[in-house]
């Protein structure tokens, strides 16, 4: 119990004293996972909308695949991405392995199915006649899709939160493709694993608390935006 207390005090200390290394690690986590979420939003929302609004043979199989992908284990992604990115591997010429870019790639792959799955669900939950109505009012197809996305924005926001929460908290892929290189690819989760191995439990707890604080802050902002729309 006193260990947790020591960790809390340490966390407070590290935050207040603006410890350079910890601040760097925290900012990198935020940047990498934020960017990965952004990439997953671009791909996930567009592909999810497309899948939801069209019908084609094999759609059920595809949607099941996407839904399975929502639980894609980060270590599996980490393993395949590192094999692809090895400098003597198929994508080695990109020289991405053990860089922040590699973590962004892996985390984007983890977050995309999450966003896509939630997008499909959100779009399919819209009233079926809405599309016809919008088109009947003279909207082009593009305008119609944009209006539907706006209409589904509340559940989509949940997708953003789920995607971001999924990637900022994962450690398996980050450690494999990033390598936990000090001052370069060390993020909050990989640093926590390392400090635990070193027996620096107070720093490990401090890092976890900072991670939780981040998750809360981001989700608070997103929830705030989401809930403001509710009372109508």
């Amino acid at each position: 119990m006193e260990l947790i207390l020591a960790g809390v005090i340490k966390a407070f200390h590290l935050l207040v004293s603006l410890d350079d290394e910890v601040l760097g690690i925290a900012m990198l986590s935020l940047k990498v996972s934020g960017l990965a979420t952004l990439v997953s939003l671009l791909i996930g929302i567009s592909a999810g909308t497309l899948i939801a609004l069209t019908s084609f043979p094999g759609k059920k199989v595809l949607v099941s695949l996407v839904n399975t992908g929502m639980g894609l284990p980060p270590v599996v992604v980490g393993l395949f991405v590192s094999i692809l990115l090895w400098r003597n591997g198929p994508l080695g010429f990109m020289e991405l392995l053990y860089t922040p870019g590699a973590i962004i790639v892996a985390q984007s792959i983890i977050a995309t199915p999450i966003v896509m799955g939630i997008t499909i669900g959100a779009m399919q939950n819209l009233p079926a006649n809405l599309r016809l109505q919008i088109l009947a009012l003279g909207a082009t197809r593009g305008q119609m899709v944009w209006m539907l996305i706006k209409e589904a924005r509340l559940p989509l926001m949940a997708g953003v939160m789920a995607g971001f929460g999924g990637v900022i908290s994962e450690v398996g892929a980050s450690i494999m493709v990033g390598g936990n290189v000090r001052g370069y690819t060390r993020v909050l989760t990989t640093a926590t694993v390392m400090e635990t191995g070193r027996g620096n439990f107070d720093i490990a707890i401090a890092l976890s608390l900072i991670l939780l604080l981040f998750c809360f802050a981001i989700n608070y902002i997103l929830t705030y935006i989401q809930q403001r729309e509710r009372p109508r």
């Binding site: 003597n88 922040p100 390598g179 000090r182 001052g183 390392m194 191995g197 070193r198």
Partner: protein, 287 residues
């Protein structure tokens, strides 16, 4: 609605501005060097002292990937690392013999110790050798935690079991963590099991986490833990940064680095965690 769009676009803009600033400065401009090493060198904190000195002196940016010695050598075999700092002498010789590595040089040593709970259920405190200790552990069926990760420590442990004539794999009292040295020590402490560890990691960890394990067997030539630096053979993999690997190898056996090794941990832990050995023959260590 407008406010929402505004807040959202602000959020996106924030993420985008983060995008622009992502690769934090260095690494891109400098030549990078991939060092594959063991968890013990990282968990003890030695590399945190040595690497910055090397980086300042040579201008290389070192990406330290800390894995077990087994995985480090696999990375070397595939040309995915430039230089190795490992402690698994038998497989190292094999690695060099097969042409994967060149210029293997002795850097430092410490020793392995067998740790266990204070009440010592297998009574190994009084035995004379590691082999006898392991036999006693097996006979009494006391819990033994193994790394189980093909690391140098795991290789040493397997060798000791072989020497004791015991096949522990699959026994109920023999459990494998598959984790690094620090984490395995934590598990062994928590479950009150016996464990083989390198002295450096144990001292560094025990100082901070008070493990409650005691050193029961130590001080045998067989228990020496010897670290070598090996350059990955650029003839096999042209992408290997051989100049950087050579520079790192030279640095590790240089006076400067050896002095760091000699004094590292003395102040904090009361005794040094590693002993510098550059230029010595392995035989002089009593092998």
């Amino acid at each position: 609605m407008n406010r929402i769009t505004r807040t959202l676009s602000l959020f996106v803009a924030l993420l985008l501005s983060a995008a622009v600033s992502v690769p934090p400065g260095h690494a891109a401009a400098q030549k990078t060097l991939i060092l594959a090493t063991t968890t013990s060198t990282q968990d003890s904190g030695l590399l945190d002292v040595l690497i910055p000195v090397f980086e300042r002196q040579s201008g290389y940016f070192v990406k330290t990937i800390s894995v077990g010695s087994g995985q480090a050598m696999k990375m070397g075999e595939r040309g995915e690392a430039d230089v190795l700092l490992v402690h698994s002498p038998d497989s190292e010789k094999d690695f060099v013999a097969k042409g994967f590595g060149v210029n293997r040089r002795l850097v430092m040593h410490n020793d392995f110790i067998i740790l266990g709970p204070a009440n010592d259920p297998a009574r190994i405190r009084t035995v004379k050798s590691a082999a006898e200790a392991l036999k006693a552990v097996a006979r009494s069926g006391s819990l033994f935690m193994s790394r189980g990760d093909n690391s140098g420590t795991h290789a040493k442990e397997k060798g000791l079991w072989k020497g004791a004539g015991v096949a522990p794999e699959g026994q109920k009292w023999y459990q494998q963590t598959g984790l690094g040295m620090g984490e395995t020590l934590n598990v062994a402490a928590e479950k009150k099991g016996y464990v083989l560890a390198d002295r450096g990691t144990y001292l560094a960890l025990d100082k901070k986490a008070r493990l409650g394990l005691e050193i029961l067997v130590a001080g045998e030539p067989k228990l020496l833990n010897i670290y070598h630096v090996i350059e990955v053979n650029p003839a096999k993999w042209p992408k290997v940064n051989s100049a950087g690997a050579r520079a790192f190898g030279d640095f590790m056996v240089s006076r400067k680095a050896q002095d760091v090794v000699r004094t590292f941990g003395k102040k904090e832990f009361g005794s040094p965690l590693f002993f510098p050995d550059a230029g010595k023959k392995p035989e002089s260590l009593g092998l």
